[in-house]
């Protein structure tokens, strides 16, 4: 449980909030590159951390994220004309660059100086790995550009999607570090999903129904280890990293691609669930890409023309009680992503954590909340930059491996937990 004031801190990410300030220390995924496909293309409305913004790729190919509304009369610049190196408001012709600077006010004489005084709030937007990333904090504290492995391997080795989740970001994140739900909620998918099936590790999962959990603090966040019995007294370990504030990875299975997520607040009641799959040393197979596009693994299919999942709260997530009864799917909802999202959204937009009853296997969640609260406080009171901004914290992988019984997985898997270009993932 959390006290009400603690729950408020970790769930509120708007401007000026403690957790909002923490999020504003990081490069965050803002859009897929496909959303701004060409120079001079239509701008895209986006809300991040409770700020309504407009993503722009101008006629010269420059990227920027600016305040959505014209400084003149508050018109949405989504209606703007993307022309000649700027975005022009169609109401009175005020024109802005991707840096938010006003370039032209047609009704005012140039010598009035009015134009130079107008500046929309703007944030940098950079492309990396098919994702447009933004940094919404103070310019003087801007960290190095993101170095996550999925975004730095060749394009044919990685695929990233995003989906709308209609809940607070922390509910979604907590699913990503809650390893104990996998044996229940996703039990129908292990041997059927083309992005999971066939791995030897699956047999360890099925043969040992009583996994044991170990949570270890790590420089960038946490490592959550789940161990099951393997041959000759050894343990099969699945190790999930969480890097602050909102990055998680799923341990790999066999030679399948590695999956992971970012959970990025849109506002306090919605978030983007970013889902990536990549292979460190080979291109993704065509059948893997097809499976991801068809909503397999951690991906979803969409309401056409949107990033809202096809199964959503408006259609009761296409709940199938017969599939639930037959255990084709454990909950009756199809697909790993929507199995999680349906339950997390059912908690309400911001779950009341004063009423929950955690148990010891929830220690990953307990520790993550604690680290977020501590980091937010240290930032607010001492200006201490939080973990996860450093490049070395981002060079991390999830791991699945068999280890002798008396070893600390953090030490024994130390090399395997590092993202190393050209080196295959440690997987079983």
């Amino acid at each position: 449980m959390l006290r009400r004031e603690q729950n408020d801190i970790v769930t509120q990410t708007g401007p000026g909030s403690q957790m909002g300030n923490l999020f504003r220390c990081y490069w965050l995924p803002a859009l897929l590159a496909e959303e701004l496909p060409a120079d001079g293309c239509p701008p895209v409305r986006i809300k991040l951390l409770s700020e309504r913004l407009l993503a722009v790729r101008d006629s010269e190919g420059r990227l920027g994220l600016i305040d959505e509304f014209c400084a003149h009369r508050g018109v949405s610049l989504w209606f703007g004309r993307n022309e000649d190196g700027g975005l022009r408001c169609p109401y009175h012709g005020w024109k802005y660059g991707v840096d938010g600077a006003c370039q032209e006010i047609p009704s005012e004489p140039a010598e009035s100086g009015m134009c130079a005084k107008i500046n929309l709030k703007s944030y940098p937007l950079i492309e990396r790995g098919g994702v447009l990333w933004t940094y919404m904090g103070p310019p003087e504290l801007q960290p190095p550009e993101p170095e996550w492995e999925f975004a730095t391997v060749p394009a044919n080795q990685s695929l990233t999607t995003k989906r709308l989740q209609e809940s607070n970001w922390l509910q979604a994140l907590e699913g990503g570090i809650d390893s104990s739900h996998v044996s229940w909620l996703h039990s129908g998918n292990l041997n059927s999903d083309p992005l999971f099936k066939g791995a030897k590790g699956n047999q360890y999962n099925l043969n040992d129904a009583r996994p044991v959990f170990e949570v270890v603090e790590n420089d960038g966040g946490l490592l959550i280890g789940v161990r099951r019995n393997a041959e000759e007294g050894h343990y099969y370990w699945r190790i999930t990293p969480w890097v602050m504030p909102c990055f998680t990875m799923v341990p790999p299975r066999g030679d399948h691609p590695i999956h992971g997520h970012f959970w990025v607040p849109i506002d306090d009641e919605n978030c983007w669930a970013w889902s990536f799959d990549y292979h460190p040393v080979r291109p993704l197979h065509a059948y893997e890409v097809t499976a991801m596009r068809e909503g397999k693994g951690i991906h979803v299919t969409y309401v056409p023309g949107t990033y809202r999942p096809a199964a959503n709260k408006d259609n009761d997530y296409l709940m199938d009680r017969e599939a639930q009864r037959l255990k084709t799917t454990y909950s009756g909802v199809a697909g790993i992503a929507m199995q999680d999202a349906s339950l997390q959204e059912s908690m309400g937009p911001i779950v009341d954590r004063t009423r929950e009853n955690l148990v010891s296997t929830d220690n990953g969640i307990i520790m993550a909340r604690l680290r977020l609260l501590r980091a937010a406080k240290a930032l607010a009171e001492k200006g201490t930059l939080p973990p996860g901004t450093q490049t070395e914290h981002q060079r991390i992988r999830s791991v699945a491996m068999v280890l002798p019984p008396n070893e600390a997985f953090k030490d024994s898997a130390a090399e395997a937990l590092k993202a190393r270009p050209g080196v295959p993932q440690a997987s079983v």
Binding site: V215, G348, I366, E407
Partner: protein, 166 residues
Amino acid sequence: MNPFLGQSESARVTTAAEARFRAPYPNSRSRSASLIALDADSVALVAHAVASAPDRRRQMLLPDVVQGSEWIASLQSHAKALLDDAERSDMVVMVAHAGHGAAAATLLGEACRLRGVPVTALVIAGDAVPTGHVARTLAQLRPFATMIVVANGPDYVEDMLMALRA
């Protein structure tokens, strides 16, 4: 689909407005925890945690019996009382510092395992702990601990207990 509102049940009930109508009654009883320090460095930590919530927490080994090598002997002589204590608790929390021997936990841990009392082991480590120290302590705890946490600092003991309502 709600036939009157033309809206799915899931859409209707997951709003912030609907959240106000959740039954406002307690959904659990208070939980008790028995805490045991597995090394001398952890004794004060456990005592402090117990002192902050004496109605829900009890210390399974008094500080004045934890004296060097006599500790293990006294632990065994107190075994019956300890096991009774453990059985009355909703959870047993063992606290150890990385690198210290946790062998004293074996007797109690095995008994808890057999009797179905969940044991959470907290290992206090940190950057200064040499490689291998954590593994040594973990090896002694793994046979019976249902959950192990390796924390960088001692504050986590209190934070975890609060989060578990103990």
